[in-house]
Amino acid sequence: MSEVRRIDASEYTPPTDPRAVAEAGVDLAVDLAGMKLPNPILTASGCFAAGAEMDRFYDVTELGAIVVKSVTLEPRQGLPTPRMAETPSGMLNAIGLQNPGIDAWLTKDLPWLQSKGARVVVSIAGRSVDDFRAVARKLRGKGGIAAIEVNLSCPNVEERGMVFACSPTDSAEVITAVRRETDVPVLGKLTSDVTDIVSIARAVVDAGANGLTLINTLLGMAIDPDTGKPEIYNTYAGLSGPAIRPVALRNVHQVHTALPDVPILGCGGIRTVTDVVQFLRAGASAVSVGTATFVDPFVGQRLIKELRSWLAERGLGSARELIGTVEPWS
């Protein structure tokens, strides 16, 4: 290795491609399910709280939008610890939707987001169709809300705890209820832990969702070999991070191929600008960055900058040009 000259990444300027255009001329704006966003970089629910903690690092209004941590009707304390375990290139979590409840959220978190002028996507969660409906109703007429993301990866107490997102009919019922309560775009957030994600996607869209968020965490497990105990109090937990990226990308591509007109917010393991490019190519109109924020608080801000450079270097005038551009082999 000694004869290999080390290159300082911060000093290295790649050779300029003859196609390159000026960065200032690159248009990052996208349309996501009717939302006009200045760029396609959003946060993932549960990985950015409601923004204020992250605003200590940079101005969070730079982001395309902030998808806040899921809010429920009632305040929730969440699950006992341990809630998290690191796994190869990923992590498991079972937080249990700890949140202050919609009433406290509306008096504290939303006003902060409004005062900053952030574009806000409110992620909502519940145990029953009525829960979702009630939360959506409370959001009605509140300013500064760009969209509602429906977290369908919640156990449905009325169906013996089966996760809504595993059933096309339960998912559709929730979306129908939320759709009736709101006039902002509704995104249905799906899980990949199903036999056929396309059939769930179709049911959710038919029920009135304006777009889909793909995907939530994958269910996983880890056991402490010495104690024999699960590493997470809840036994099973959601896997996130780079480890799930190929699965997420496959889901986006599969759904986009089957339902090319349905706007998709891609999510799962996104960390670098080339990850963003892959999701846009696979058919996402924008992306949500989750776990990567834990590793690098500045990741959202950096990806906006790097996406602009990436496009400029290749002579691409807009981020939109990339959406749904997977080139076939044959």
Partner: protein
């Protein structure tokens, strides 16, 4: 290993909040069973206060998350100005990786994070109790308390002598220091709580600060509560993000109106009023206490104590 340049600072420069910084490794050495890293981190050193921590990116294969470390010491002046030290135990792939960084390597650090120890608003004698490498950040606190003209005593406990960080320095910067080891290899044979009452009495301690394993913090907090002694503890919780967004590092905390809510150690701690932690709802317990010969009935009358609000103000 690192090809990044040192001294790059990201973040809001106009605040005393956390920044991201690439830091040159100035020293890496063993401290008994532990490791010490000294880092050139001017932007962090200038903002840091005792009890706060840094979150360090590790590059061990397959690891993803940063590793949090209490800031053990900071040099704000002199030739070592702008450096911070961390002391740690290598007990997993991330910390193991950190024991292999070379001098002049550049590592990626975020900090300072979390709330610092509140400093007394009154003249009061301070007792600092450290367990294992948890004693290290108390040196930073001791410097700060001494600068305020307050008396500082310490109790440092560990499994064995090699797990007592820098005993000589502890003696140098305190009015008195009492050591305990569980194997009896140094100081009193036993745990910090075995000598706590006696030290409090002897030193006239009016406030206790503690840092170390959570079962020890529980035992110290419960003993202090029984003695009506204000106690502030810096907890060690497994963290995901360290910046307040993942809700992994939570502890049950009793609020003023008696409710128990889950608070994040990274942004609402890591320093908590030890009497406010609902330890019985946590999973921390020291297990069976070491047997003592004395009976509580012979205990001397409790002295007058300052209350929390008298000591900390209305924070």
């Amino acid at each position: 290993m690192s090809t990044r340049r040192a001294g790059i600072v990201e973040g809001r420069r106009d605040s005393d909040g956390p920044v991201g910084s690439t830091c040159e490794v100035l020293a890496r050495r063993r401290e008994g069973a532990y490791w010490l890293l000294s880092l050139a981190a001017p932007a962090i050193a200038e903002r840091a206060r005792p009890g706060q921590f840094v979150n360090i990116a590790v590059e061990a294969p397959g690891t993803l998350l940063r590793r949090p470390f209490s800031i053990a010491r900071v040099s704000k002046q002199g030739i070592a100005a702008g450096t911070i030290e961390v002391v740690f135990d290598a007990h997993g792939p991330g910390t193991e990786w950190l024991t292999h960084v070379d001098l002049h390597d550049v590592i990626d650090v975020i900090g300072p994070l979390g709330n610092p120890f509140p400093l007394p608003q009154r003249k009061v004698s301070c007792l600092l109790i450290g367990g294992g490498y948890g004693a290290a950040p108390l040196f930073f606190l001791a410097d700060e308390l001494t600068r305020k003209g307050l008396r500082v005593d310490m109790i440092i406990g560990a499994g064995s002598l090699d797990r007592i960080p820098n005993a000589i320095e502890a003696k140098r910067i305190t009015a008195s220091v009492t050591f305990t080891t569980e194997d009896g290899s140094y100081g009193t044979h036993g745990r910090v709580t075995d000598v706590l009452d006696e030290v409090v009495e002897k030193c006239g301690s009016g406030v206790v600060y503690a840092c170390g394993p959570n079962p020890m913090l529980r035992a110290v907090s419960e003993r202090c509560e029984a003695m009506d002694l204000p106690v502030q503890v810096a907890v060690e919780e497994k963290m995901g993000c360290g910046i307040g967004v993942c809700f992994t590092c939570v502890l049950p905390i009793s609020t003023k109106n008696g409710e128990v809510t889950m608070k994040r150690a990274c942004v609402e701690g890591p320093v908590f009023n030890g009497a406010r932690i609902a330890w019985d709802q946590s999973r921390y317990d020291l297990g069976a206490p070491t047997p003592t010969d004395e009976d509580d009935q012979d205990a001397p009358p409790e002295p007058e104590r300052l209350t929390d609000s008298e000591i900390w103000g209305d924070a």
